[in-house]
C-alpha cells in the first residue's frame, strides 16, 4: 500500500538518513546506531520544538552551528529529572554492593551516561553516607558537553517532598536537605559532593575504555542504542570493569544476550546488578 502517508514516511526516512550521515561526517557523532524508534521520536520532537518544517532544514542548521548540534544531543538524552529517581536501585546498591566495597582499600566508580547528573549526585550522597566517599573516585561521563556543563554546576531543581520520600525509601540516613542549600527554586549541592566527582566527556559509541573500575553504573543509557551498538558498548564496559566488580543496569536491561553474558553473575533478589566473575 503506498498512500500519501507511506510516501511521506519514505521521504522522512531519507531525510533522517541524510541528517545522521551529515552529523557523523561533520561532527563525528554517529547517531546511526541509535535505537531507531526512539531516535525518530526524539528527532520529531526536536523539529517541533525548533519550529522547523523538515529534517532537511534541521540538517542545514546542525551542519553549520555547533550550538544546534548540542541542542540536538540534548534532546536525544533522556536522563532522570530528579534525585533518587529509582529508590529500589539505590536501596539494593546500599544493601548488596556497599558491604563489598567496604572491604576494598579504594574504589573507582564510573557512572556512564550521567546526563545532567541527578543519579550521579544521588550516588555521591549514598557513598558519602556509607562512609566510602573518602576512598571513592567517582567518574561521571556523558556524550554531551552541554549536559555535563549543567551537571558540573551542582545545581538542581529544588527537590520535592516526593524526592525526599524516595531518598528515605532508598535507605537514606539523614535528610535529603542536608545535602544542598536552597536558592529560590534551585538546590545548590554541597561542594564536597560536587568537587569529588570527575565529570568527563566520553562517547560510549566511539571512545574506548579509559580506566579500570570496580563499579560501573550504566542505567537505561543503552536503551538509546540499537542492538549492535548495545553489544559493542557492553564490550567496552566489560573491558573497563575489574574482576569481581559490579555492573549496574536499568530495571529492564540485561546482559543476557551480550557477548560477555557468561562472565557475569546476577545478584539474587535485586534489580539488575551483575558481578563480573569471569
Amino acid at each position: 500500500m503506498t498512500g500519501p502517508g507511506a510516501r511521506g514516511a519514505a521521504l522522512e526516512a531519507l531525510e533522517v538518513d541524510l541528517l545522521l550521515e551529515g552529523v557523523a561526517r561533520q561532527w563525528g557523532f554517529d547517531l546511526r546506531r541509535r535505537s531507531r524508534p526512539q531516535l525518530l521520536r526524539r528527532l520529531r520532537r526536536h523539529l517541533r520544538e525548533e519550529r522547523l518544517d523538515s529534517f532537511s532544514a534541521l540538517q542545514g542548521r546542525v551542519l553549520h552551528e555547533a550550538e544546534a548540534l548540542d541542542a540536538l544531543l540534548r534532546t536525544l538524552s533522556c536522563t532522570p529529572p530528579a534525585l533518587f529517581s529509582e529508590a529500589a536501585f539505590f536501596r539494593d546498591f546500599r544493601t548488596r554492593v556497599v558491604p563489598v566495597l567496604r572491604t576494598w582499600p579504594s574504589v573507582r566508580v564510573w557512572h556512564a551516561g550521567c546526563g545532567t547528573g541527578e543519579d550521579t549526585y544521588a550516588l555521591a550522597i549514598l557513598l558519602h553516607e556509607e562512609g566510602l566517599w573518602g576512598r571513592c573516585r567517582l567518574y561521571a561521563s556523558d556524550v554531551s558537553e552541554g549536559l555535563l556543563a549543567d551537571a558540573r554546576t551542582g545545581v538542581l531543581p529544588l527537590p520535592t517532598p516526593e524526592d525526599a520520600r524516595r531518598y528515605a525509601e532508598a535507605g537514606g540516613k539523614g535528610a535529603l536537605s542536608d545535602y544542598y542549600t536552597r536558592d529560590g527554586n534551585w538546590a545548590l549541592l554541597h561542594p564536597k559532593l560536587r568537587d569529588g566527582i570527575f565529570f568527563t566527556q566520553h562517547n560510549l559509541a566511539t571512545d574506548g575504555s579509559f580506566n579500570e573500575f570496580h563499579v560501573i553504573v550504566c542505567r537505561d543509557t543503552l536503551l538509546a542504542f540499537n542492538r549492535a551498538m548495545h553489544d559493542h558498548v557492553h564490550g567496552r564496559l566489560f573491558e573497563s570493569l575489574a574482576r569481581f566488580g559490579f555492573l549496574c543496569l536499568g530495571r529492564k536491561e540485561s546482559v543476557a544476550r551480550t557477548p560477555h553474558a557468561g562472565a557475569y553473575e546476577a545478584l539474587e533478589d535485586c534489580g539488575r546488578i551483575y558481578r563480573r566473575v569471569g
Partner: protein, 185 residues
Amino acid sequence: MSPLGLLVVGAPRSAAADVESVLALLPPHLPVPVVLALHRGPLDALAAPLGRRCALPVVEPDDKDELRPGCVYLAPAGYHLLVDGSCVALSVEPPEHGQRPGLDALFESAADSHGPRAAGLLFTGHEDGVAGLHVLQARGGRVAVVGARRAGGDGEEGELEQLTPGTVGGWLARLAYVPRSRVQP
C-alpha cells in the same frame, strides 16, 4: 492488503478489564506478536491478571527482546514500549500526556516499523493514543477504537472504525486470518 505482522493495543487504565476480555479472545496459535501498552502506575502488577484468561503468555519484555508470534508483550511500568522491527525497544523519554508507558509512542513506533503490516486497537477513555493511531492509519495500518460509546476526543476519532467490546472479536478474527489466507494460495 499486506499480511499482518503485528497487533498493537493501547488502553487507558480505566479499560484494563476490557483489555483482559479482549486478550481472552485471542486464539492460542496467533501467528503474530501482540504488543500492549496500558497506562499504569509504578507498582501495578498487571501481567499476571491480564494473562489469567489469555491463551497466550503475557510478558513484560526486557529492552531489545525479540518479538515472537503468539506472545503478548506488555509495557513495563515506567518505560515507553516501542517496536523496532522484530524487537522491542524500551525508552525512558519523558512521559507524554502524563503517562509512561504511553500509547502514542507505541502506535507511532509500530507505524514506523511495520506500516501497513500492523493493526492497531485503541481503547477509548484517554486523549493519549489518538494521534498515534492516526499516524498508524495514515501509514496503511488497519486501526479501530474500542469503547462502549464515543468518549473523549469525539471529533478526532470520527473517521476511525468504532467497535464495542462485543464486536472486537469479529474484527480480530478478520485481521488474523483473512490476510494470511490471501497470501497463501
